[in-house]
């Protein structure tokens, strides 16, 4: 099978307009004859469910949390990009497109990214109309700030809680449709499987997380808006419940999984403090505007620090290594996320890490405070400093912050065509759950943009095109495929509960996380990846022999929920390793140590790897099949990134 | 249900009644304490008795007094209705609660304080208000006109230590009730503004102290001077 991206022909700037015109429409009276399932209620899911319900479709929306408002989109801090050019600083749809393609290290589709930039302006209008309280200037107009990877100010924000405000906007639109009876909401419900009939997605199997009831839902189309899979690393900035289960089970039902190895590792997170750690907390990238990153010059001094024999302030200027400023004199502490992360790893690998675990570097505000006064720094970063102190118990005004990179976002995901349809007809993936717009690296403030673009402005057009071709025959859950899927789910549950082994689900999750972090994290090698693959296989086998899941299915059972998710991570982990092993180049969030410039920068291989790696599931314990979608660049020239 | 009954049966409508009746009772207390200051005049009760007659006969005052009765009854009834709803909203309480760290004792115990004040009110009205209206009071004559000698009843009552102590303690409870109720009524009416609220709160605190003290001084003054 050849993956058809269905990118419309014609000039880049006209593709979307033309495509919207040529797409088939469903007449208003017929829309109410269609059922649509939306799994996940984050930015992509809530916006899609609301918009489709407004059009007249009957929507069922599912989320595993107790309310749609909890989806992890809520945690995004920085902002949302849009090519409004309100600042008159030279921004344009084309520039946003260009920055995003370049930021993604030329591993994304031009047409998708251009469309993203194009609809970005509508998103801001929509959100303001919903009552999202964006930051404003004294004149009453919207404020913007600049963000990494861009030379214009195009980021709209609501203090450090932009994701929250946008999600609550989408949630309110969704709630309105729930009240209208056009959306039926299923909170605390987890999708367990996709049901396909004659190759088309036609429903899902769910588990009611409170009663354990296994239920079936039929629909003309299924939309997966289930976020990313960063929790495969156990420790990440994702929410505890964030998981790959919906996407993975769709994958096993025939949806290709694209570029799974593209992982974004954010450089400024609060370091791990011990084995008990359950999640990592991000500190906004903006801190690097004033903070200076350093470690001691010698391992001996770092050891003294770790033992608590000396304090950071005792280390003299000449004994400090401001390694980012030293290696990248022109960008200094403001190098892009991947570069900053990798260099933190290098110095810690050398034994110069500064906390007890040896995995932290300093982010020091001493010079900024001396230069601008403590009050100024407090005004800029007060809430972040407070959060840091709350978590670590240390006062960052007096002693440097300790930071370390952490997994933050996954650019890979379910393969989708231009219409956001996966390789299973009728099955769609939106937002972080798909792979489409960020290439190998995502720019700051672009995740919110993509989630909402997909949900508000792309899917309402592209879904209609599919449904119109389907006819209005009602769907139901009587087909034997539903029964088969239910049996599969029930068997899996019984199996998990029946193992009655000796080790908890978290034990396996933590172990998997360690393997992934060490060998498929910030820097990867063929050797490490090969080792990781063997280790994951062994761990998976051990899991299915020795996991201990207490309780029963017919109750709220958080161990069972976790067990399902970790079982899927144990399979996904291997695919990530396969993908990383296949991609013999370094690009964006994927860094293979074998492929770097003499200066230690990522070395792309455009000749051999300018493609989307889409993996097809071949059966349990079978190697997956790689299918390639070539990336064609007609509008941008591929260049090597340099931040020297 | 009409919009009026619907509004008055909503929690906010009921709160509105609590606030309006409460504020009216505060107005009443202001008038009551001002008039009763005549007890301190030391004229053998002449001014006080004249004032008492005026208060029971003047038609305008009559209307106000009926409003006061309605306010008392409304305040009590709606306190009971809201109290029951509030109780039902938390059928199982907490094992451990540190509510003193987030709110004042008075604010959490308005119902208890109100009940004590109500009991006091019954005793108080029986002692004086009932006597004044229907009791067999001695008569006095000033400038040829006859007045009921309420003053003598008052002075007699406050010869009793228990009565004096009871009044003083009751005024303590009133102080607590007012310390929260005054500003709270404005908040319920939606009158919260950073320019005015601090002033409302300050006046509320002052009022909650000064009015009960003046009331409490009356039995004490009479007890120690006669």
């Amino acid at each position: 099978m050849i993956l058809d991206s269905k990118i419309p022909a014609g000039p880049l700037a006209e593709k979307w307009t033309k495509h919207k015109f040529t797409s088939k429409l469903v007449n208003p009276a017929n829309k109410r004859k269609y059922e649509v399932i939306v799994v996940g209620t984050g930015l992509a899911g809530a916006s899609a469910a609301a918009s489709l319900a407004e059009l007249g479709y009957n929507v069922k929306a599912f989320c595993f949390q107790d309310s749609p408002r909890r989806a992890h989109s809520i945690a995004a801090q920085g902002g949302i990009n849009a090519a409004k050019n309100y600042q008159n600083d030279g921004d344009s749809v084309y520039r946003l497109f260009y920055d995003t393609i370049k930021g993604g290290d030329y591993r994304a589709r031009e047409a998708n990214v251009y469309r993203l930039a194009e609809v970005s302006v509508n998103i801001i209008d929509q959100c303001v109309a919903q009552g999202v309280p964006f930051a404003r200037e004294y004149g009453g107009l919207l404020a913007n700030r600049s963000f990494g990877g861009a030379q214009v100010s195009r980021t709209f924000y609501a203090r450090g809680q932009t994701g929250q405000q946008l999600l609550l906007g989408a949630y309110s639109a969704l709630s309105r449709q729930v009240a209208n009876g056009k959306v039926k909401l299923y909170p605390r419900t987890e999708m367990m499987d996709v049901v396909t009939v004659d190759g088309h997605a036609q429903g899902i199997v769910t588990r009611n997380l409170i009663t354990g009831a296994i239920e079936t839902h039929a629909a003309h189309a299924v939309l997966l808006c289930t976020g990313g899979y960063g929790n495969v690393f156990f420790l990440s900035t994702n929410a505890m419940g964030s998981n790959v289960t919906a996407a993975w089970r769709a994958h096993k039902k025939g949806a290709h999984f694209a570029n799974p190895c593209y992982t974004q590792i954010h450089p400024t997170c609060i370091p791990v403090s011990g084995d008990h750690q359950s999640k990592l907390t991000l500190m906004s990238e903006s801190l690097r505007n004033d903070g200076r990153v350093w470690v001691p010059k010698t391992v001996a001094m770092a050891e003294k620090l770790r033992k608590g024999e000396i304090r950071p302030r005792d280390i003299q200027e000449e004994d400090r290594d401001y390694y980012l400023e030293r290696k990248y004199p022109s960008f200094g502490n403001l190098v892009p996320r991947d570069v900053a992360s990798r260099n933190a790893k290098y110095v810690c690998d050398e034994g110069r890490g500064v906390n007890e675990t040896g995995e932290a570097v300093f982010l020091d505000f001493r010079d900024a405070i001396n230069r601008d006064s403590e009050a100024t720094i407090r005004a800029r970063y007060g809430n972040l400093f407070d959060m840091y102190q709350q978590i670590t118990g240390e006062n960052p005004y007096q002693t440097p912050m300790k930071i370390y990179p952490a997994v933050h976002y996954t650019m890979g995901g379910l393969w989708v065509d231009y219409n956001l349809m996966t390789s299973v007809p009728g099955l769609y993936a939106l937002g972080e759950a798909n792979f489409s717009d960020h290439g190998a690296n995502r720019l700051g403030a672009s995740a919110l943009m993509q989630g909402l673009a997909d949900g508000y402005f792309v899917i309402p057009y592209t879904l209609g095109d599919y449904l119109a071709g389907l006819g209005t025959k009602p769907v139901d859950t009587n087909h034997p495929e539903f029964e088969k899927a239910v049996k599969g789910v029930k068997d899996k549950i019984s199996k998990l509960l029946g193992i009655k082994g000796t080790k908890s689900v978290d034990y396996f999750h933590k172990k998997l996380g360690k393997i992934m972090w060490n060998d498929c994290g910030m820097a990867r090698t063929a050797e490490g990846l090969t080792r990781a693959k063997a280790e994951i296989k062994a761990l998976r086998a051990e899991f299915w022999k020795d996991v201990k899941v207490l309780g029963e299915n017919e109750e709220l059972n958080q161990s069972l929920e976790k067990a399902h998710r970790v079982a899927d991570f144990l399979e996904l982990g291997e695919l990530m390793v396969d993908d990383a092993l296949n991609r013999n180049e370094s690009c964006g969030g994927h860094f293979r140590e074998e492929y770097q410039t003499p200066e230690g920068e990522a070395l792309r291989d455009d000749e051999n790897f300018a493609y989307v790696a889409a993996w097809k599931y071949q059966g349990d314990e079978q190697e997956e099949l790689l299918e390639k979608e070539p990336l064609v660049f007609e509008n941008v020239k591929l260049t090597q990134r340099s931040y020297k | 249900m009409s919009w009026v009954t619907k509004t008055l049966s909503s929690t906010l409508g009921r709160k509105l009644i609590m606030a309006l009746t409460g504020l009216f009772l505060i107005l009443f207390l202001t008038g009551h304490v001002s008039g009763n200051l005549l007890l301190f005049k030391g004229d053998g009760g002449e001014a006080f008795n004249i004032y008492a007659k005026f208060m029971t006969t003047n038609p305008a005052v009559k209307i106000l007094s009926y409003l006061t009765y309605i306010s008392v009854i409304g305040h009590v009834i709606y306190a009971i209705i809201l109290g029951r709803k509030n109780k039902a909203a938390r059928p199982i309480g907490y094992e451990e609660s540190k509510s003193s760290t987030n709110s004042t004792t008075a604010s959490r115990n308005m119902g208890v304080l109100g009940t004590i004040i109500l009991i006091f009110l019954v005793v108080h009205m029986q002692s004086f208000w009932y006597q004044m209206h229907w009791g067999d009071l001695p008569l006095v004559e000033y400038d040829g006109e006859t007045y009921k000698d309420l003053f003598s009843i008052v002075t007699f009552a406050f010869q009793n230590e228990l009565m004096v102590a009871g009044y003083v303690i009751a005024m303590g409870f009133l102080a607590f009730h007012l310390s929260h109720g005054f500003a709270s009524a404005f908040q319920t009416l939606g009158l919260n503004h950073k320019k005015y609220t601090p002033a409302i709160q300050a006046v509320g605190k002052f009022y909650a102290v000064i009015v009960p003290i003046l009331f409490a001084l009356m039995p004490l003054y009479i007890y120690f001077t006669s």
Partner: protein, 249 residues
């Protein structure tokens, strides 16, 4: 640190439930409160006992999913969410009492997990601006004074955790409801429907069985986002003016 945890255990909504005490050792001051419970659950799992169920998700203080009434206060001794509470706020040898949110409108699902869908229904009754996707004016068409936008934002930061209800002696949801009414009443986009919104949301709030407001201020004092009582006053104004002047007879 060595601690004793006195935890509310309740198998399901029909179960009566009760407290069970668990000794726990080896707790580091760097742990978050939820990580301490993770440790407890690992130990319980090892012993073959059902782990303690509690709601949590983002663990960075924004999703509002975590709850817990800890030592007599919602989210524990600090004015933050339970996930941001760290064990350095406790001392070695402490006994920590952990209870679920208590409110008729928040029935217990299991152990410390409660059902807060009443909040969703309040929002569904009117906590939105009725605009469809597309066809909206340009974002800069209507200037909004910065002070108004900031105040609306302050109200909009509510995370819907329910600490206000848990803290209130009447289990009242007025702070939650008022935060949304207030946010939308202040912004020009929300003003169009302000009357209907106030009437509908308050009717729903009452129907859910939350208590009334006694203006104790406990809700605001315990709110992890510090939502102000001025929102309740604004809601009251909105409601009174709505019932006096709306077309809704």
């Amino acid at each position: 640190m060595k601690l004793t945890l006195k935890v509310w255990r309740q198998k399901n909504n029909a179960d009566k439930g009760g407290f069970v005490s668990y000794p726990i050792d080896g707790i580091s001051t760097d742990m978050s409160f939820l990580e301490m419970l993770d440790v407890l659950n690992e130990e319980l799992t090892e012993k073959g006992e059902d782990p303690v169920h509690f709601d949590h998700d983002c663990r960075e203080g924004i999703c509002g999913m975590c709850s817990l009434y800890i030592n007599g206060k919602p989210h524990g001794p600090q004015q933050t969410t339970t996930c941001q509470l760290h064990m350095r706020s406790f001392s070695d040898g402490d006994t920590i009492t952990i209870e679920p949110w208590r409110a008729a409108a928040f029935p217990v699902v299991k152990d410390l997990v409660v059902d807060r869908s009443a909040f969703d229904r309040i929002i569904q009754s009117g906590g939105y601006v009725s605009v469809n996707t597309g066809g909206v004016p340009d974002a800069n068409e209507i200037p909004i004074p910065k002070t108004i936008a900031d105040e609306a934002f302050d109200a909009a930061t509510c995370i819907g955790c329910g600490a206000c209800v848990a803290a209130c002696k009447n289990a009242s949801a007025m702070l939650f409801t008022s935060a949304k009414i207030s946010q939308l009443a202040m912004l020009p986009q929300g003003k169009v429907e302000r009357k209907a919104r106030a009437e509908k949301m308050i009717a729903q709030m009452d129907a859910e069985g939350f208590g009334a407001c006694t203006n104790t201020g406990a809700c605001s004092a315990e709110c992890p986002k510090g939502i102000s009582l001025t929102n309740i006053a604004r809601m009251n104004r909105e409601y009174f003016s709505a019932v006096m002047s709306s077309e809704n007879v």
